[in-house]
């Protein structure tokens, strides 16, 4: 797999009164993983949006195996697991001290400036196929 690892430091704001990271904040960690995966592989998502396209999330899954808390230094490990002409799937594993905390997956379709779903533009499709880890 072509994984990219990104460190994320847990903020106080992300914890809840159980003393752990609130489950609903992991999708934001996935987003950071995705953004840094694309940058590391040579395609800044911001540039892609500047051209008038969006990768819109159509599905989200997360499985919570363990917990994290304030100031933990997590590693978000991201890969592209499936690329189709009309969409892409990213996978995430969030670790703390070598322990798997959360597994996640997001599916995306491409939209143009009018918010219509379109086929992935050829340069993005090529890029994603190159970094795909089926």
């Amino acid at each position: 797999m072509q994984w990219v690892d990104v460190p994320i430091r847990v903020r106080y704001a992300d914890t809840d009164r159980m003393g752990i990271v609130y489950h609903g904040f992991y999708p934001m960690y996935f987003e950071t993983g995705r953004t840094e995966f694309m940058r590391e592989k040579g395609c800044e998502y911001r540039t892609f949006e500047d051209m008038g396209f969006h990768l819109v999330v159509t599905a989200l899954e997360a499985k919570y195996h363990s917990t994290a808390t304030y100031d933990d230094l997590l590693i978000v490990r991201t890969a592209v697991s499936e690329v189709k002409s009309r969409g892409v799937t990213f996978e995430y594993n969030v670790f703390h001290d070598g322990t798997l905390v959360v597994e996640g997956r997001t599916r995306h379709v491409c939209m143009n400036g009018e918010k219509r779903a379109i086929r992935l533009p050829p340069p993005l499709l090529d890029f994603l196929r190159n970094v795909e880890s089926p």
Copy 2:
């Protein structure tokens, strides 16, 4: 199904630069749906926690069918779809003007004060079986 409907007004803070609700904020809407479902059915989740128990999220799924934006008045429709001795599944449908925006599901296990997974305490198990909509 024994659904409970809860209105949620979309905040500016919840939107992103696409002009829509950021996908990662829907889990917080699900939480509101869950809390109000339990209150409406006669069991405040807060009281349950005051007794030393937690319903911890072990899995989250969401499918995004449409979008919502600032000031939209959404309806979060919540039900309990599965109850087992060791866990419970909640389901959510988020609507705007009658259109399904997001479908979601969360699975939970019960933990005690020492953060150990335990069987659902009998009163909670009975409560959940009563409101279950298989």
Copy 3:
């Protein structure tokens, strides 16, 4: 003072590992207070934005007197305390069970579609002067 009161139920997501509402989430409660103040007084902020204008926050202040926790039903009391041709100040008092939890204030300028600061459009200026409580 022409106050408008809005109830807000504290979400689990808003608490932190001290067991209280994280201080950084109150500005979102202020936003809800502001939006509902304007709606109640007859001017939906959303409509104002649809005309191409924005009330951009230029300053924020909050004083924390007490704490709130999960499931607390807070009251956000909002007023317009100062109106000038180039800006407006909103004030907020957040209560729980009659106790003042947080006081806040936001200052705003008006921006047009090109994100340039402009004088408040006359209809908005009139509206705000009408609801001002100096």
Copy 4:
């Protein structure tokens, strides 16, 4: 001044439908600045909490001079501007490409495990006086 600089990459989740960072998320950036200031200067805030103490925010101020957007690499510059026996003030300057985006300030008091305000414990007081930049 004894400033500590911390980079923060703006997440998509932090933007709003104006296309900029929502004003209410800067307090979370201040938190990161504060945490990293203390770590850099040799006192992890987490350790301080592990000893049963909390630095609770009693006041927050922010002035917004410019805007930031998705993927911007911000610098949060943090200092301790005032130390008293019963509290401490942190100051923040958030920059993007050398431009000041937001100025902030938080005041804190120390609380013990029973959530009672107490004098700053001597080791923390000494630490803060050492890094104070009046």
